[in-house]
Point group: C2
Chain length 218, copies 2
């Protein structure tokens, strides 16, 4: 796209009406899924006809693309800031978890879309960047965990790969039940989760740390 509109071009990204439509589309994509949301659904929600959407966007794909790109740029910017602060493994993990729950709070629809649609969308060349983001995400968390094991902040017998998956999943899947504006703030949830993740739910009973979970303690 050139810097000035050519006749027939869709509207510039700055338009406020465009932003409204994107937000509406995001809400529906998050609720019903990308494929299951029709352009007529989006248009109905906006009070216009489906064809009119194509004044603003080239395609339905472009809508979800813009939503995800903006969100991921923002989220990974935050992650990089956290890592750059060099807080040590434990504090870095705490900050990254908090930032993730904060993202669920502030960008609820976007997180839901990313979580549900990335696997499907990434197969299309247009969305190849989603794979890069996933790789960066993996790198971020596993290096925190590995460093923590090295320094002794985290248990030496930790399976970093599995722990990464558990953290990733638990954090993002919270988008299913976390409601912005509910009684629990994102901070509350992050604190409670970090409590479980770092120290576990069991009480200490003279049990040796580092043992596998199935030790007898009736």
């Amino acid at each position: 796209m050139s810097t000035t509109n050519q006749p027939g071009d869709t509207v510039q990204a700055g338009s406020s009406r465009r932003a409204e439509l994107l937000a509406l589309a995001g809400r529906l994509f998050a609720e019903r899924g990308f494929k299951s949301t029709t352009v007529r659904d989006i248009a109905d929600a906006a009070g216009i006809l489906s064809g009119s959407l194509y004044h603003h966007f080239d395609s339905k794909e472009q809508m979800v693309d813009e939503i995800l790109t903006a969100f991921l740029d923002d989220l990974f910017g935050t992650y990089r800031e956290i890592v750059a602060q060099d807080l040590g493994p434990r504090k870095t993990l705490e900050a990254a978890v908090a930032a993730s729950f904060d993202a669920i709070h502030k960008h609820h629809d976007e997180v839901a879309i990313f979580q549900h649609e990335a696997k499907y969308l990434v197969q299309f060349p247009r969305f190849a960047y989603l794979a890069d983001r996933n790789a960066e995400f993996y790198q971020l968390w596993t290096s925190i965990l590995t460093e923590g094991v090295r320094t002794g902040a985290f248990r030496a017998d930790l399976d970093v790969e599995l722990t990464y998956r558990f953290i990733r999943d638990t954090v993002w899947v919270a988008v299913h039940w976390y409601k912005p504006g509910g009684s629990l703030t994102a901070e509350d949830v992050a604190d409670e989760y970090l409590g479980i993740l770092l120290d576990g739910i069991a009480t200490r009973r003279g049990k040796k740390p580092g043992g596998k979970g199935s030790g007898s303690s009736g």
Copy 2:
């Protein structure tokens, strides 16, 4: 449906061809989602035409209904057996987690379908039973946790509601990455997860002396 087939009825549930088709449909529903899987996709996978599916099934909905019903009957049967054994909170939790990962191993597609489609399907009267199952699931886990807090097996300051969500989510979302036949068995994964859930990933430092970490940073 009556006990004998009427002309025009679909085939009885016992047919082996029918079971094959159900398994194929389950695989596709799990991979692409229920709405995004077309009857032509299923028929293609089976090497027949889409219309021929309607010899075996009344509708696409019936397919997913049968898949979910059979799976949930099986899963909740297992849960009830565990609870009936009265093992105490910690062992009950361990057994329930293990049973859940085992379900992911043995009924991978079904778990994926349940996890992704329940929220959408439950809005239709036919699938109202999904809400009952969710309620039973909630009851199962929160009573284990509450009992554990009462007996002192779990931390007194535990937020049972939140902890329930974390456990539920982490367990089921593993269906995304757990591959039956991979290097990790469902038991391995369950053990590792229980290790994190019960004792946390952090080494003991602030709480009690005796951990090997020396408090290097933050």
